[in-house]
């Protein structure tokens, strides 16, 4: 893939007054927020852009207490972690060291180190950072089945946004497809919001998520059907029901027809890497990390020397590790821009890696560890 054309080539003119900043952070989830905090503490001037209406990324939708270590705020409910991080950023806002743009999406990266920002109002403007950290998180996978486009069939994340962020009851009777952690947690959150959950379907012969989350929904009497999937949705203007099929060696066997006005699809996430691709960053397909992910060195730096990555956009993992990766990236940027010495940066990054190691010790992280072996590189020069 080739690098995008320059704005001058595309628009026939160069942008008039291009805003400059030291560090541009794209994405205001746990990775982006932690990266911002670290960079600010080290003295950098930071511009943070977030396409959503509020900061926090996935965190603002999570009502459960997080796993991980207490250093990464485990035991705290997801949305509170977001509130805490945002509060820590506040003092830097007044000082002019931090600039935050909400409802603003980074839509293009140009070779001259120019990034195009698009605001909800329709305004598009360029910004020129010295360094950029991409922390754009992940997006949900979809499942192919007849009628999967009917209104009422949402990604698990969509359901969470509607329900936990905006307080809308997403339906009356739900069917969940996918018994990984996210499917299980969303099922539980639906129950908390007073929505009936008919069943959770899982194509594999075992539950993918953690037993604690499975136990919570089982306690409510929600069946988790292993080796089952949805074979089609029923409805005309919106979803009215679904056909559940058993997965057998001879293919799908329809077994039940159920009535429901909500179907939640939770079959995995894939890293959001559009900007990295545009920037011509070297990528690799690593199934263990959710799809195409950028090669990076130990400091989270990509093959483009001014671009770093952190969080789910570097490979699907957890908020806890996303926060550490954000700090590592900012420490590396600070070193590059001369805000801290080589030794200081090394000490800090070694410590952060020790915490990553601790978090990744668990058996559930074995995939991540394998994935990392494929993408962790040392850049020459």
């Amino acid at each position: 893939m080739t690098m995008s054309k320059s704005p001058a080539e595309i628009f026939g003119y160069s942008f008039p007054d291009i805003r400059e900043t030291q560090l541009l952070i794209v994405g205001g989830g746990p990775a982006g927020l932690s990266a911002a905090l670290q960079a600010l503490k080290l003295g950098l001037k930071v511009t943070l852009v977030e396409s959503g209406l509020e900061l926090g990324g996935q965190l603002v939708k999570q009502t459960h207490k997080f796993f991980g270590s207490s250093l990464e705020r485990a035991g705290t409910r997801g949305f509170r972690i977001a509130q805490e991080l945002i509060k820590e950023l506040t003092p830097f806002k007044g000082s002019g060291q931090l600039e935050v743009y909400l409802s603003t999406t980074a839509i293009a990266v140009y070779p001259e180190r120019i990034v195009l920002l698009s605001q909800l109002s329709g305004k598009v403007f360029p910004i020129k950072p010295k360094a950029m950290i991409i922390a754009t998180g992940a997006q949900e996978r979809m499942l192919p089945f007849p009628n999967n486009d009917l209104p009422g069939i949402y990604g698990a994340g969509g359901i969470q946004t509607l329900m936990n962020q905006y307080g809308v009851k997403p339906g009356k009777r739900a069917l969940i497809v996918g018994a990984g952690n996210i499917g299980l947690i969303v099922a539980y959150q639906l129950l908390q919001a007073g929505v009936e959950v008919i069943a959770i379907l899982e194509a594999m012969d075992r539950i993918g998520g953690w037993w604690v989350h499975a136990a919570k929904v089982r306690r409510y009497g929600v069946p988790i059907l292993l080796k089952h999937t949805i074979s089609r949705a029923i409805g005309k203007e919106k979803v009215e029901g679904a056909v559940i099929a058993e997965i057998t060696p001879d293919g799908l066997k329809d077994k039940y027809q159920v009535e429901c006005d909500l179907i939640g699809i939770s079959v995995g996430l894939t890293p959001t890497v559009d900007l990295l691709r545009q920037a011509n960053v070297k990528m690799k397909y690593v199934a263990f990390m959710g799809g195409f992910v950028p090669l990076r060195d130990r400091e989270m730096r990509t093959s483009q020397s001014w671009i770093w990555v952190a969080g789910d956009s570097a490979g699907i993992e957890e908020a806890s590790t996303a926060m550490i990766e954000g700090q590592i990236a900012s420490t590396s940027v600070a070193k590059w821009l001369g805000y801290i010495s080589e030794e200081e940066a090394k000490r800090e990054i070694d410590q952060l890696w020790a915490r990553l190691g601790y978090l990744r010790e668990a058996e559930v992280s074995s995939k991540v560890r394998k994935g990392l072996e494929e993408v962790l590189v040392t850049w020459g020069g």
Binding site: S51, G52, L53, E54, L55, T63, R77, F79, I86, L89, T90, K93, L98, E99, V100, Y101, L102, S103, T105, L117, Q119, L120, S121, G122, K123, F125, Q139, E140, D149, L150, P151, G152, I153, Y154, G155, G157, G158, T161, L162, M163, N164, Y166, G167, V168, K169, P170, Q192, A193, G194, K236, E237, K238, T272
Partner: protein, 117 residues
């Protein structure tokens, strides 16, 4: 339907003001500042547009401005991502059929940093 009671979450701070808006000419109420799609959903409206080729109903899907499923015509402007566009008093919201036509005169705005931090 809006969630009023929740074992963990308190939505009151996110619902500063109930405002009137119009969906296909019909008067409805929603919360100012929350996405248009949220208020429509709470009012039982789940079909936001009809697809370009097969005319299939489309609702909201990703909820974070990434999939284009929720495009509607808002105050005459088509292709508005209603899942991330805040509701304002008096907005006129229409289901979109097909691609929609853009009147460039209607699109304008100023860059500005927000103060929500």
């Amino acid at each position: 339907m809006w969630l009023e009671e929740h074992p963990i979450l308190d939505f009151s701070s996110k619902r500063p003001k109930l405002v009137k808006f119009y969906f296909e000419g019909k008067e409805m109420w929603g919360y100012e500042g929350l996405p248009i799609a949220a208020s429509l959903h709470a009012n039982g409206i789940k079909v936001y547009r009809y697809s370009t080729r097969l005319n299939r109903p489309r609702g909201f899907f990703c909820a974070i401005g990434k999939c284009s499923s929720c495009f509607m015509v808002v105050d005459g402007v088509p292709n508005v991502r209603t899942c991330i566009t805040p509701l304002r008093e008096g907005m006129r919201i229409e289901r979109q059929r097909g691609l929609g036509k853009i009147d460039l005169n209607l699109i304008q705005g100023e860059a500005g940093s927000d103060d929500n931090v």
